[in-house]
């Protein structure tokens, strides 16, 4: 009755313990095939096991490596069964990530059995110009953040008629909070490769680079296996030429997501962006015309070609076509990866797909550290390149972090700026120095020493940094600050005028207190306090306390909490 058992062993799954489950199952199940698959996007339910039966698949969530869990699964028990909510079926439109978690990522046969490389065959029967035209009709725009029309970029490369041409896949997913590209590469590496081969045919490229984050070892491994497999089948030989395919590992620099910086990094230099023009499509890697697209852009290509541009363009809004993957994380019930049609509203994603509780959400951060915070009152905004731009956010690569009411918005902005200011390459003064100045002011505010002048400074300096920076990093670094100032000014004002952090997050603006009414004097807090700030009669000395929260976490009666206070006392 059970035909096959699939265990999700993507990075998320492994982190949740899928490895142990796999080993345990392998040593205890003898007569059923166990397959490792990628990620189906339901990360909140990991480790996840799918049991293929004659009557369809049954999913089990939060599986453990023990006999009870194993037995439950073999008996197809009711426990831990994962049923997909109706809303996910209704609101999602899974096209690009359809095979993710459904097939063995490193099996070319399985990929082929599911229409794999059919789009490449179809594309090879078309002229390169026709392929570019289809992509144009499909309205595909770059999924990496900028949203540049893909067909236009391709045509820039295609117009160079002779010589070496380079295709680069940007797999340097550096946005903290984004993991769609990782999932695609881990789960369906052949889809990414197929998209790149179609692009090579359309543009006449002779060399392919995949610039992947070194922090994604599994993605790199699977890509390398996929490349070897497609080379064995000679799929990389097309139009009378053999295409070189090389995976290059990045070395940890967020700015390398910028085109020209990535090219410098590929050439073995510091990843510092340069002025454009010349654009990479005229002079890129070692001077050759080069084109850079993001992983998800390439992964969308086979879908577009297979169904045709016209069909593809039926989904989405006027300016943004097709589907988009988002990585949901933060304060919500169902974190993971979703694929939705462009034009779905933020609210639908956060509340319906993400399962966040209505009223519990303060804002969403879209587009990572370069994006903006969008407050709840704008949750009816459709997700497309243009609408988000109007709100001061960007689509970005697709990281979507839900920020709950209990988080401090000033601290969140400080966090993003801390990140971007450290990642600035140092080339442009406004980015190198200006962002540090912004960060200093934000630290001043979160430590309770800010004034309204600091807010004015932020609003003055932010746009100057945007104007005075060369690349996307500097141009977008002040976004989180400016967007939060725009939408959550009252919280900033509370910090500077009332020295109050309503979220009780800013250390200097809170005290820690023990509720003596509930306290049972068990001593756990006194024992755990690293700085001996709690006296024998259970009073916290807030001049000593570092607000590390150790006592709050350990208290069995939950009678210790943060309260408004701190500096203003």
């Amino acid at each position: 009755m059970i035909n096959r058992i699939k265990i999700g062993t993507g990075s998320c799954g492994i982190a949740a313990g899928a490895d142990e489950v796999l080993t345990f199952f392998q040593s205890n199940i003898k007569d059923i095939d166990i397959v490792e698959v990628g990620c189906i996007g339901h990360c909140y339910a990991e480790p996840l096991v799918e049991v293929e039966t004659d009557n369809g698949s049954i999913f089990f969530s939060n599986v453990k490596a023990n006999d009870a869990s194993l037995q439950n699964i073999l008996e197809l028990g009711e426990k831990d069964r994962l049923t997909f909510s109706k809303v996910r079926k209704d609101k999602e439109l899974v096209k690009v990530s359809k095979l993710a978690g459904r097939i063995n990522p490193v099996s070319l046969e399985e990929y082929k059995a599911n229409h794999g490389y059919e789009a490449l065959t179809k594309a090879l029967e078309m002229t390169p110009t026709d392929v570019v035209d289809q992509v144009k009709i499909g309205g595909l725009r770059g999924r990496g953040g900028g949203g540049f029309p893909t067909a236009m970029k391709w045509s820039f490369l295609a117009k160079h008629e002779t010589g070496e041409k380079v295709l680069i896949c940007n797999a340097d997913e550096g946005d903290p909070g984004a993991f769609m590209d990782r999932s695609l590469m881990e789960s369906i590496p052949h889809l990414v490769m197929e998209g790149m081969l179609i692009a090579a045919h359309a543009t006449g490229a002779t060399q392919i680079f995949i610039y992947a984050r070194a922090e994604y070892p599994l993605a790199i491994r699977n890509l390398k296996i996929a490349i070897e497999q497609l080379q064995n089948e000679k799929l990389h030989i097309m139009d009378g030429r053999e295409i070189q395919i090389v995976v290059k590992e990045g070395a940890g620099a967020f700015v390398c997501g910028e085109e020209t910086a990535m090219i410098h990094s590929l050439e073995g230099y510091r990843g510092i962006p340069r002025f454009r023009p010349p654009f990479p499509t005229d002079s890129g890697y070692k001077g050759y015309p080069s084109l850079i697209n993001n992983v998800e852009t390439f992964a969308s290509v086979p879908v577009l070609i297979r169904e045709g541009g016209e069909e593809y363009a039926k989904v989405g809004t006027e300016g943004s076509k097709g589907t988009k993957l988002f990585a949901l994380a933060g304060d919500l019930a169902f974190s993971g990866i979703i694929e939705v049609p462009m034009g779905i509203t933020i609210g639908e994603v956060v509340y319906e797909l993400g399962g966040a509780e209505k009223g519990s959400v303060k804002a969403v951060q879209i587009g990572g550290p370069s994006g903006g915070c969008i407050p709840e009152e704008h949750f009816d905004t459709p997700i497309d390149y243009d609408s988000l731009g109007k709100l001061g956010a960007i689509m970005g690569s697709g990281g979507l972090i839900v920020i709950g009411k209990q988080r401090c918005i000033v601290e969140t902005a400080r966090y993003f700026l801390d990140f971007t200011s450290r990642e600035s390459c140092g080339k442009c003064t406004f980015c190198r120095v200006g962002n540090i100045r912004l960060l200093e002011r934000l630290e001043k505010i979160t430590s309770g020493n800010g004034s309204e002048q600091d807010l004015a400074f932020l609003e003055d300096m932010g746009p100057k940094i945007i104007k005075g920076s060369l690349c996307g990093l500097g141009k977008s670094a002040p976004n989180p600050v400016l967007s939060t100032l725009r939408f959550f000014r009252d919280e900033y004002l509370e910090h500077v005028n009332d020295k109050k952090c309503r979220a009780l997050e800013c250390k200097n603006l809170v005290n820690v207190e023990i509720d003596k009414e509930i306290c049972i004097e068990c001593g756990a807090c006194i024992k755990t306090c690293p700085v001996n700030a709690i006296s024998d009669d259970y009073v916290v000395d807030n001049t000593v306390c570092t607000r590390c929260n150790s006592c709050i976490e350990i208290c069995p009666k939950k009678c210790i909490s943060r309260t408004l206070g701190g500096n203003n006392e």
């Binding site: 946005d175 922090e215 510091r270």
Partner: protein, 151 residues
């Protein structure tokens, strides 16, 4: 000094980063001697090699501990309290961010994102990821490694 670490690479400059990664994988960090080797091998100035090494966060100039504890401070982890996690680890291991203890057993590093956002907050010890952490679990995990380090 094992110059032969580099001979597998074509002398083209575009292989420099790959070569540095290889050296770090073999030796754990990039020593002064290896910088000289790299510069000689690729026939570029020492400062070019050093410049590339300091630019990328992956590269280390000092020997890391036996166990490298990475605290994820990605967005999701951050809002789920990664700062507290980092402070607790500092307190338990007695080292600050970026430090290695005197015995060379533990190194603590804050990293941008491990890509396991749905399990936030997470840490990784020598690449093994632990998610949904609270203080109690954290102590338990670190304790296990401390016991192992004693062996």
């Amino acid at each position: 000094m094992p110059q032969n670490l580099l001979t597998i690479f074509d002398k083209d400059r575009s292989n420099l980063i790959k070569a540095i990664q290889h050296v770090q994988k073999e030796e754990g960090f990039i020593s002064n001697d290896q910088i000289i080797n790299l510069a000689d091998y690729f026939e570029i100035p020492l400062v070019d090699v050093e410049g590339v090494i300091t630019f990328y966060t992956q590269f280390k100039r000092t020997k890391p501990g036996k166990f490298i504890v990475h605290v994820c401070d990605g967005t999701a982890c951050h809002i789920k309290g990664s700062e507290r996690i980092a402070n607790w680890i500092s307190e338990i291991l007695g080292i600050a961010d970026g430090e290695t203890d005197a015995k060379g057993l533990f190194s603590l590093e804050t990293v941008a994102c491990l890509g396991c956002c749905s399990l936030a907050p997470v840490i990784a010890v020598n690449g093994k990821v632990y998610g949904n952490l609270d203080r109690k679990q954290l102590r338990k995990i670190l304790h296990t490694y401390q016991q192992e380090a004693k062996k």
